[in-house]
């Protein structure tokens, strides 16, 4: 069955349950396609032999009541996987083999899924194009030499290129939603505290969240249902009533109030993005929802705030990479020299840049001017959303200010790279859930996404809106398999 890899998660689960397909059939199909797709460079570590063994074992005694029965999947290489190398896309963790499992991946395996391998990403998830990875850039299946976005670039390309039916990424400032938008896939960043951060290589602890990426909204909802659990191992995990997101999914969004924030109409935004947004507004109206113009007045301050808060937290989190306990070590004349050389040779340029920004804004004499100031502005940004949610149930915006760009196009200008996350960053700063769904193509045929932002813990609502819109949009991803010879 050559079309196995084209099937959605929902279809695969159905075909396993009614015994039309075995886990081995499915696992083999995704491995075969992955073998032919090396040029995309989505894998850092392949775990194919072990995946086939697990699939065979599953088929001998299949438990079809599980939510992901015998479904193979690859995950971003930021999740610690027991006995499988975990690099975070960095030279400094090039040889790191975790002795424990992240809670999110543990939840996935407990529901019957099988690990295919670990997916490429920007180094320590710091990047918007997957070009900062120590393991090289990732190709976007949409077109050659096009970035897949980042930091979950390998994850997005793997789903779009049908090398995995579903995957998980992490999102600190847009790292799930922006690559989803660039590859014509669906990506959800859950509410802060929804998915455990235990066992995820830390970038910025007050912003990081794991989330599902898939070909469609329903698959995303099912995976979210699996990964979102309260976890004592993460002190910021929140104990709230979690929905059965896929079972409760409905396209009935009649009477929902959707906010349209005028501040997201930024200078220099291509007309195609504005047109797409207008189309999105029409789609939600066609579904019976009402749109309301709203204001999020501090939107333009979100990126500058983010570029203080995230590097500050990163500089602290990445202090642990000292060449002593795990990871790469460089030779040094003494202890300090060893530290300095290890970190200089082990971290890439973007990571070093962010550690230095973070160290500077936290250093004596600058803390109030930068870090404290940013925390205060972060409060204003959150207040904007709180105010808006008195009037609306959700907010609709474009996911990104442009479609995917060429590899190398923005690598020399960090600020222009950072601007990519202009619509996604405010959501992380406020700790809210946001989902990006593919909504159309630009004149080059590249996909464009729309973002739906929800109230905290209201994942069900934005999934429902996305589900209703998805039906109206009827998006078809243009994948030509150009990389398969």
């Amino acid at each position: 069955m050559s079309d196995i890899t084209k099937q959605s998660l929902t279809e695969l689960v159905k075909n396993i349950r009614n015994k039309k397909l075995s886990s081995t059939d499915i696992t083999k199909a995704f491995i075969d396609r992955s073998e032919k797709s090396k040029e995309l460079n989505v894998y850092i570590t392949e775990d194919f032999t072990s995946a086939l063994d697990k699939a065979k074992k599953f088929d001998q005694k299949p438990n079809l009541d599980l939510k992901l029965p015998g479904i193979p999947m690859a995950v971003k290489d930021l999740f610690c996987t027991k006995d499988v190398k975990t690099t975070a896309g960095s030279k400094i963790l090039n040889n790191f083999v975790p002795t424990y499992e992240s809670t999110v991946t543990d939840n996935i395996w407990k529901e019957g899924a099988i690990l295919l391998g670990k997916l490429n990403c920007d180094e320590f998830a710091m990047g918007s194009s997957n070009e900062t990875s120590f393991f090289g850039n990732v190709q976007n299946p949409i077109d050659k030499n096009l970035v897949p976005g980042g930091s979950s670039g390998g994850s997005a390309s793997a789903v779009a290129g049908q090398l995995t039916p579903i995957t998980i990424g992490t999102d600190t400032g847009g790292s799930i939603r922006q690559p989803a938008s660039f590859t014509g896939t669906v990506g959800l960043k859950p509410t802060y505290g929804s998915c455990s951060r235990y066992g995820i290589v830390a970038f910025a602890s007050s912003l990081d969240q794991a989330g599902p990426m898939a070909q469609n909204v329903k698959d995303c909802a099912l995976l979210q249902e699996v990964i979102s659990t309260y976890d004592l191992k993460d002190s910021t995990s929140i104990d709230f009533k979690r929905n059965q997101y896929s079972k409760e999914l409905t396209n009935n969004i009649k009477g929902k109030k959707i906010g349209i924030p005028k501040e997201y109409r930024v200078d220099g935004m291509p007309k195609e993005i504005e047109d797409l947004w207008q189309k999105g507004i029409q789609y939600v109206k066609d579904c019976g929802a009402e749109t309301i113009d709203i204001s999020l007045p501090h939107t333009s301050y979100a990126l500058p705030t983010y570029y203080i808060v995230a590097p500050a937290e990163a500089s602290s989190n990445l202090a642990r990479y000292d060449g002593v306990k795990y990871g790469f070590r460089a030779k040094g004349e003494n202890l300090i020299d060893m530290y300095e050389k290890t970190r200089s040779e082990g971290f890439g340029a973007e990571v070093q840049r962010r550690i230095m920004i973070g160290t500077y804004v936290l250093s004596s004499g600058y803390y109030d001017a930068y870090y404290l100031k940013a925390q205060k502005v972060r409060k204003l940004i959150k207040n904007d959303f709180d105010e808006a949610y008195k009037k609306v149930d959700a907010i609709l915006t474009p996911s990104t200010p442009s479609s995917a760009f060429k590899i190398g196009e923005k690598t020399n200008d960090p600020v222009s790279m950072y601007l990519n996350d202009i619509f996604t960053v405010p959501v992380n700063l406020a700790g809210l859930p946001g989902i990006s769904i593919p909504a159309g193509h630009d004149s080059k045929g590249y996909p464009l996404g729309l973002q739906i932002i929800g109230k905290a813990f209201d994942e069900q609502n934005i999934l429902n809106i996305a589900f209703a819109m998805e039906e109206k949009i009827n998006f078809k991803n243009k994948i030509t398999d150009w990389w398969i010879k």
Partner: protein
Amino acid sequence: MSIDLKTIKHISKLSRISVDEKRAEKLAGDLNSIFDFIEKLNELKTDNVEPLTSVAETTLKLRSDEVKSKNIREQIIKNSPQDNEDYFVVPKVIE
């Protein structure tokens, strides 16, 4: 504001990342353009705003302080670049 080479050297020392002259110049340029962008925050008056330290409006849950992982020394040492079975080994610190 302007970040000069002396400041870069200072930050490099604080962050324990050795930086040669050429890298330092490149970093000074990058950091200056990033801080120009960050300066935008000074447009806002924030004297009476409470800083946001956590988006989660819940208090941290308490739990009893119990040892849950036992005998994991081997696991902890497993990934170290250099060890002598019981300890991490680092370059000599005391002469």
